[in-house]
Amino acid sequence: MKNTLILFLRLMKHIQRSPETIMSAMVQPILIMLLFVYVFGGAIKASLPDGVNYVNFQLPGILVMAIAYNTSYTALRMFSDKGKGIFNRLNSMPINRSSTLWAHVFASIVSSLLSLAMVFAAAFIIGFRSNANILEWLAVAGILATLSLALTWVAVIPGLIAKTTDGASFLAFPLVFLPLFSSAFAPTETMPAALRIFAENQPLTPIVETVRSLINCEPTGNDIWIALAWCVGIMVVAWIFAMRVYKRQT
């Protein structure tokens, strides 16, 4: 546990000292939000019911995207540690081997949470408002935290198996684009049939819908359970797979 903390603090230094991580993992989601709200927002609003606050509408999608961006950097950091022989050095030392992996996982989650906080702050400035109560906020936090844990385990896999830096980032790439093909930014009714079927059934849609309902104080219905089931399901499958890869390599 102590070693996990030491290694975690090392990774936090990495995040803090690499401007490109901060730019693309923390600032980019905010820029995309500005793009949606101010460039596409006017047009998209036309197909939404009257009185919908578009900043609120698109926020869950941006939150998911922010988590995806951050976890893709986890893949890169792991790949770099492996490539430079830092994993080898740590694994030949008298410390618990899993602390190396968990340090990356914690760093990933903490950076996601920081990034989420920044997105919320920016959204508030441009007009995000919510009357959600404490329970609803806790539910939002719970879902986002579970999602970031799930996507972190997904990102660990390319981090461990990639042969090149490009490979590591390429494998994490779909995570960032998946939110675009969901109900996160525009209603699915206007999409072509095939895309619509995908958008309505992909895991991010119930997650986005649940977060949206919670922050808008609307009933979530079954979505919240479907969302949680997806998060936990992805997490368990990715975790088993990642552990298997990790064990095979060490």
Partner: protein, 255 residues
């Protein structure tokens, strides 16, 4: 002669159809510098990886300080330190932070003081607070070796410690290795550099075709391969001697 610290017996390892280690056996005594010579792809790194518990052998056994590398890896890790073929330093951290990181992980008290001392000893005092990413190849390697010394391990593996270094930096590393050995540390060093083995090693083993084809002191190896004929020639200076004569480094005397 000290007691046996590293014992390797009939070690075997293949990657698919590539039989890298066929039957490798050797032993290393306390305080010895043991050089493992071999060309590219001979399997030197594979042996180091197995001994440092990073890889499992297919057969045979190996023990370090009487602990089996496969069955008691935690015990083995208490006694060893690995300096891999490619310097494993964290470029985003400073030299000091790199050393403090390892010191903390090894539960060394006064990690900061230990780190500062090592930096001085390795001539990195000036670069203490610079990020390791801006270090030269030689500085990076010295930092890398310094990181391996923390916690005073009994056994140190140095996988091609001087590859890519200029002659001066190489001699610095040699000096460090000799000092370590004098203080009782057992050193397994791999190299492709024949002179390095000559300069440093108490014992030299040649790994070729998956087997150790020769193993002994330099004199023993010389006896194995007696000169075929005697020739009397004027001794020409080696390029290395010329190099040092020109740059006037007093360090050449270290030889």
């Amino acid at each position: 002669m000290g007691d046996i610290v590293i014992q390797v017996n009939d070690l075997r390892k293949s990657f698919k159809a590539n039989h890298v280690l066929k039957s490798v056996s050797f032993e290393i005594r306390r305080g010895e510098i043991f050089a493992l010579l071999g060309s590219n792809g001979a399997g030197k790194t594979t042996i180091v990886n197995i001994l440092s518990t990073l890889m499992k052998p297919d057969g045979g056994n190996a023990s370090i300080c009487n602990y089996d590398v496969v069955h008691q890896p935690e015990k083995v890790r208490q006694s060893i330190s690995l300096t891999g073929q490619y310097a494993a330093v964290d470029g985003i951290l400073t030299g000091l932070e790199n050393l403090v990181l390892i010191a903390k992980l090894r539960c060394v008290k006064n990690s900061n003081a230990v780190a500062v001392n090592l930096l001085k000893r390795f001539g990195l005092g000036e670069a203490t607070d610079k990020r390791a990413a801006v270090y030269s190849g030689g500085m990076t390697r010295r930092l890398d070796i310094a990181m391996s010394l923390i916690g005073n391990p009994d056994v140190i593996f140095l996988d091609e410690p001087t590859t890519g270094l200029d002659p001066e930096a190489r001699i610095e590393v040699w000096k460090t290795v000799k000092e370590l050995s004098n203080s009782g540390t057992t050193i397994l060093l791999t190299t492709q550099h024949l002179e390095e083995a000559e300069q440093l090693a108490d014992k030299i083993a040649i790994l070729h075709g998956g087997n150790i084809i020769a193993n002994g002191t330099l004199d023993e190896l010389k006896k194995l391969f007696p000169p075929v004929k005697k020739e009397y020639i004027e001794k020409q200076p080696t390029l290395e001697e010329i190099f040092f004569a020109i740059i006037g480094a007093g360090k050449a005397e270290a030889q």
